[in-house]
């Protein structure tokens, strides 16, 4: 029900204006029908009525009906004034028709139902009842007047019945309309709240740092926020993007699969894990446009949740992704700082007793003649030296915190490192085959690069057959802005089981190794904005992937 004192919400006002317009159009239709009836009805009564009314009045009413409809359509203000004006004209016109046609006996009273119903729908109950009262008074007045004129031949009972019927109809229509309006108000309110909530959700999801991804059963992305697109290495998430079609995103697909395989039995519907996603090595130029594009790689924490759709074919999983690379970098810096302080102390405190042990053993060996004693002393010396190498490796970690990077011509630098390495290890230079890398430039600390390459070469030397070209150093440019050095030997490849622990500190498969070499090499790479990993890759012209160490440079 309309209450003029209280401003109605915009949606409700629209409804009222629409109802008023319908009211106006109905009026035009009724007027036209009435005029047609009066014009074409061959009956005497109708013709008499038409003459009595006069065509001018009909035309004026039709013009007024058109005017009201146009005003309600284009001038959306003063709703109550428009409604009252229309009701006044309607009642005046119908009264004129009613009176001219002969009052209650003409049956024209039914025409009042049109403005009264409109009023009951569009006006408050009091106003609607007031209008009905006015109409009833007119009906009674007209009947009373006829009674006086015809001295008892007429009666007011018909007018009274019409009045009562009008009251009942107006009340009922008004209550029904009020109920519908309340329902509509509620629906509009809920709609606005929902709209607002959706807008907030969109804003929050779009702005949050955590990536949110909704995927279907075939790992197709249904929707995702900008953070998710960034973490997947995509400029935007286009529909039809499937995680499993991109080699670089395989860890996410695997994690999703293993999570999915877990929940039907255990009932667990959410789970989390860490994965490392990398840019795809270019297998073909056409794939590059859609493959993940990272500076190097991203370390993501994934959280999975299942959406209960109730339909087996409409399975939806939500993946929440958090890029922990930055946190890891900060942790790395903190680790280095504390490690630097610790290692400086270790170097001094451990090296002194170590020096004493090896010094004493060396002195003793000079005087020992018994071969068993000599062997035992040799073991003491060797192990002291091994411990010393370990300390030296730890010291390298503490020194790596300071990076003095500069542009390096890789060709010259690597040639120098390899020839020095061969000389130091008394290795035939033909054992290491190095590709021509002239023209490749990287930003790197030269001492760190030497350390890394020497480490990888020492490692390769340990497992290579020793024949010519048994250690290979190759340059690869997987795509623009990326550059890799591959170091590979012809020995038994590293198994995936060993690979999983390869870069852990103190992990070694060699009795002579310290277990710190590869760890240090990787840390040095990270500190120079590069990455070191052991990967299984196919060389051009060979389908079988082979293992090799890959240093990836970002520049």
């Amino acid at each position: 029900m309309l209450n003029a004192a209280v401003p109605l919400p915009r949606g409700t006002r629209d409804t009222f204006w629409r109802s008023l317009q319908t009211f106006g159009i109905t009026r035009i239709v009724i007027t036209v029908l009435l005029l047609l009836y009066l014009t074409y009805n061959p009956g005497k009564e109708a013709r008499t009525l038409a003459v009595a009314l006069g065509w001018e009045l009909g035309a004026i009413y039709l013009a007024a009906a058109l005017g009201f409809a146009l005003v309600s359509l284009y001038v959306r203000q003063h709703f109550m004034a428009q409604l009252l004006a229309q009701l006044t004209v309607d009642i005046a016109m119908i009264t004129k028709l009613y009176v001219t046609a002969g009052g209650a006996s003409s049956g024209m009273a039914i025409l009042y139902l049109f403005p009264l119903a409109g009023c009951a729908i569009l006006a408050p109950l009091v106003l609607a009842l007031f209008t009905v009262s006015v109409v009833t008074l007119i009906l009674l007045g007209e009947s009373g007047y006829q009674m006086l004129r015809s001295a008892g031949a007429a009666s007011t009972s018909q007018a009274g019945l019409y009045g009562a019927a009008f009251f009942a109809a107006a009340y009922m229509v008004n209550r029904l309309a009020a109920h519908l309006i309340r329902q509509e108000d509620l629906a509009a309110k809920r709609g606005r709240e929902l709209h607002l909530q959706e807008a907030i959700n969109r804003l929050v999801v779009a702005d949050m740092n955590e990536g949110v991804l909704v995927v279907g059963p075939k790992t197709e992305v249904m929707t995702g926020n900008p953070a998710a697109a960034r973490m997947l290495g995509q400029p935007t998430l286009h529909t039809g993007f499937r995680l499993r079609e991109h080699a670089g995103l395989a860890p996410i697909v695997q994690a999703l699969k293993s999570w999915k395989s877990g929940f039907p039995d255990s009932g667990q519907v959410d789970g989390s894990c860490f994965v490392m996603v990398k840019s795809e090595p270019a297998s073909g130029s056409s794939d590059e446009a859609h493959g993940p594009q990272y500076p190097l790689a991203a370390h993501l924490k994934l959280r999975f949740m299942k959406v209960e759709t109730g339909e087996p074919n409409e399975e939806r999983s939500v993946i929440f992704m958090r890029d922990v690379s930055e946190i890891e970098n900060q942790a790395q810096q903190l680790k280095l700082a504390s490690m630097g302080r610790l290692t400086a102390s270790i170097a001094h405190e451990v090296r002194n007793p170590l020096s004493a042990i090896s010094h004493a053993a060396s002195l003793l060996r000079e005087d020992v003649v018994d071969p068993t004693h000599a062997r035992l002393l040799a073991i003491v010396t060797e192990n002291a030296l091994r411990l010393d190498r370990m300390i030296e490796d730890i010291l390298k970690l503490s020194r790596k915190a300071q990076v003095h990077d500069k542009p390096l011509q890789l060709g010259d630098v690597l040639d120098g490192i390899v020839s020095e390495f061969c000389a130091a290890q008394s290795l035939d230079p033909s054992v290491v085959s190095i590709e021509d890398m002239r023209g490749y430039r990287v930003h790197f600390d030269p001492l760190h690069l030497r350390e890394i390459v020497v480490n990888l070469l020492s490692n390769a030397m340990r497992y290579a057959s020793g024949g010519p070209g048994s250690i290979r150093v190759r340059a690869r440019r997987p795509r623009k802005g990326r550059f890799e050095i591959h170091v590979q030997d012809d020995g038994t490849p590293i198994t995936p089981q060993v690979r999983a622990h390869l870069f852990e500190p103190f992990y070694t498969t060699s009795s002579k190794g310290t277990g710190l070499g590869l760890y240090v090499a990787r840390e040095l790479c990270l500190n120079n904005g590069a990455m070191l990993d052991y990967e299984y890759r196919s060389d051009p012209g060979s389908a079988e992937p082979t293992g090799r160490f890959v240093i990836t440079f970002a520049n």
């Binding site: 090296r351 020096s355 010094h359």
Partner: protein, 120 residues
């Protein structure tokens, strides 16, 4: 003719004793000091052909001794022993006027070669 005398400065008794033993085996005479103060006292009383000093000492750094002796008109050559094995320490010692440097753990051959080259 008396054997050349060498001053060994190290706060670690074992290392000091080992150096002493090695040098004695080479037929040299050895004096020992555990601190810079003891070293200066010995230098004031005796003539040395070579000074072997650890880098870290309880009352200062070996490099301070190098600087102090370098400023004197007549002074024996000084070799420093560094526990860090870093090029920076060695370069700093050489710049300050050290004759040579050795890294821990000491290698007998290196030590002997260095001592022989320092002696007249």
């Amino acid at each position: 003719m008396t054997s050349p005398r060498i001053l060994v400065i190290d706060d670690e008794a074992d290392l000091r004793e080992l150096l002493e033993l090695t040098l004695l085996k080479m037929g040299l005479e050895v004096s020992c000091a555990a601190t810079l103060a003891e070293a200066y006292a010995a230098l004031d009383h005796e003539e040395f052909s070579l000074v072997l000093t650890d880098m870290r000492l309880p009352d200062g750094l070996g490099i301070d001794l190098v600087r102090e002796l370098s400023s004197r008109p007549r002074h024996p050559p000084v070799a420093v022993i560094t526990a860090y094995g870093s090029a920076d320490n060695a370069v700093a010692a050489l710049k300050a006027g050290a004759f040579d440097y050795l890294s821990k753990p000491l290698r007998l051959e290196e030590l002997r070669l260095m001592v022989q080259s320092a002696l007249p």
